[in-house]
C-alpha cells in the first residue's frame, strides 16, 4: 500500500464517520424533545456535516481520479464505507442519541487535538477548525448526559441502557491497521493508543459525574476498518443515495 493509498483510506474513514453520524443526527431535525434543543442538536449536525464535506473533498483530491466529494458520498456502496459502526446505530430515544454523541464528541475532542499536529497540513487545518466545534459539542452532550444520569429514575435507566448497548462499538474507534502504521511513520496519522487512554479517563470521570456505570468486560464489535458494517448502514445509504443514483447524469 502506498502512502497516498493509505492517506486516501484514512481520510475516507474520517469523512465517512462524520457523514454517517451527521446523517443520523439530522433525522432529529423537526422532531426534537423541545424546540430549543431541536435547534441545538441541528447545530451539531451542521458542524459535523461540514467536517464530512471538507474531509471528503480532501479525499477526492488525494485520490485524484475525477471523483468529487459528492461522488464519494453518493456512489459508493456499504462495503466501501469506512465509518465507525457506532455512528450508524439508530437514534433510539434521546438518551441513546445523547450517549452516542457524547462518546463520539469525547473521541473527536482528543482525536482532533492530536490530528491538529499532523504533518499533513490539510488534515491539521480541518482538525483545528473541528476542535473548536467539538469542544462545544462535548460541553452540550456532557451537560445533557449529566441531566439524564442525575435527573429522574426513568432518564437514568434509559441512559444506562443506552450506554450498555453502545459500549460494544467503542473498541473499534481505536483499532489501528496497516493504514495507520504507514501514516504514523510519516507523522500524518494519530496514535490511537494515545487517544484511547485520554478517552477512557475522560469517559470514566464523565460517567461517574452522571452517576452512570461504565460497562465492563464488553466484547467489542469490529469490522468497519474493512468496510464491514451492521445491518443499519445499507438502509442509511439507500435513503441518502437514492436521488443521485436514480438520475446519475443530473447535477444538483
Amino acid at each position: 500500500m502506498t502512502t497516498q493509498e493509505a492517506l486516501f483510506n484514512y481520510t475516507l474513514r474520517l469523512g465517512d464517520t462524520n457523514l454517517i453520524l451527521a446523517q443520523r443526527l439530522s433525522e432529529w431535525t423537526g422532531h426534537g424533545p423541545f424546540l430549543e434543543e431541536d435547534l441545538a442538536l441541528t447545530n451539531i449536525a451542521l458542524d459535523i456535516t461540514g467536517a464530512a464535506k471538507s474531509l471528503l473533498e480532501y479525499a477526492s483530491t488525494i485520490e485524484n481520479k475525477g471523483r468529487s466529494a459528492d461522488d464519494l458520498a453518493y456512489f459508493r456502496n456499504d462495503r466501501q464505507f469506512f465509518n465507525a459502526q457506532i455512528t450508524e446505530q439508530p437514534n433510539g430515544d434521546y438518551a441513546k442519541t445523547i450517549a452516542r454523541q457524547a462518546i463520539m464528541d469525547c473521541f473527536d475532542y482528543y482525536f482532533f487535538t492530536e490530528l491538529a499536529k499532523s504533518k499533513d497540513e490539510t488534515l491539521a487545518g480541518i482538525a483545528q477548525k473541528s476542535i473548536k466545534e467539538v469542544t462545544y459539542h462535548l460541553r452540550h452532550t456532557s451537560s445533557w448526559l449529566e441531566r439524564f444520569g442525575d435527573g429522574t429514575e426513568e432518564s437514568h435507566n434509559k441512559t444506562q441502557t443506552a450506554i450498555n448497548q453502545l459500549w460494544q462499538y467503542t473498541g473499534e474507534l481505536f483499532e489501528m491497521t496497516e493504514v495507520d502504521e504507514i501514516l504514523l511513520k510519516e507523522g500524518i496519522a494519530v496514535d490511537l493508543n494515545l487517544v484511547k487512554a485520554k478517552w477512557e479517563n475522560h469517559m470514566a470521570d464523565l460517567l461517574a459525574k452522571c452517576t452512570l456505570i461504565q460497562p465492563e468486560n464488553v466484547f467489542m464489535q469490529t469490522g468497519s476498518r474493512k468496510g464491514i458494517h451492521t445491518e443499519h448502514l445499507a438502509f442509511i445509504l439507500a435513503e441518502m443515495q437514492a436521488l443521485p443514483r436514480m438520475y446519475p447524469d443530473a447535477k444538483w
Binding site: F34, L35, E36, E37, L39, A40, N43, Y136, H140, S143
Partner: protein, 95 residues
C-alpha cells in the same frame, strides 16, 4: 411533576468586546447552563455576538406605561445637565 417547557429567560448579547449588552430576545431553559447554551445556539447562529447574558425573566423589574409621566418627563426640563447650557468664551475653544 408536571410537564412544561421550563422557565423563560431574557437574552442579552454583546456584539463586540467593549460594547454594551443589548436585549435580543427570550427563550426557555431549565437551568443556567442550558440557558447559556440555548442562547448560543439560537441567537448567535450568524456570528451576532461574543458574549451572552441570560437572565430569568421573572428577575426583571420593569417600569409601567403609566410611569412615563412621573418617571421621565421631569428630566426633560433639566437643561443644565447638558453641556450646551453653558457658555464658554470663544477664546477658550473646545472644552
Amino acid at each position: 411533576m408536571s410537564d412544561n417547557q421550563g422557565p423563560v429567560w431574557e437574552i442579552f448579547l454583546q456584539k463586540k468586546a467593549g460594547q454594551p449588552f443589548v436585549h435580543c430576545g427570550s427563550l426557555h431553559a431549565f437551568d443556567k447552563e442550558m440557558a447559556l447554551q440555548n442562547a448560543r445556539d439560537l441567537y448567535t447562529r450568524r456570528g451576532e455576538g461574543v458574549s451572552i447574558w441570560a437572565v430569568p425573566s421573572n428577575a426583571i423589574v420593569a417600569s409601567s406605561p403609566e410611569d412615563i409621566g412621573p418617571f421621565f418627563e421631569p428630566s426633560n426640563d433639566k437643561v443644565y445637565r447638558h453641556p450646551t447650557f453653558y457658555q464658554i468664551p470663544d477664546a477658550i475653544g473646545h472644552m
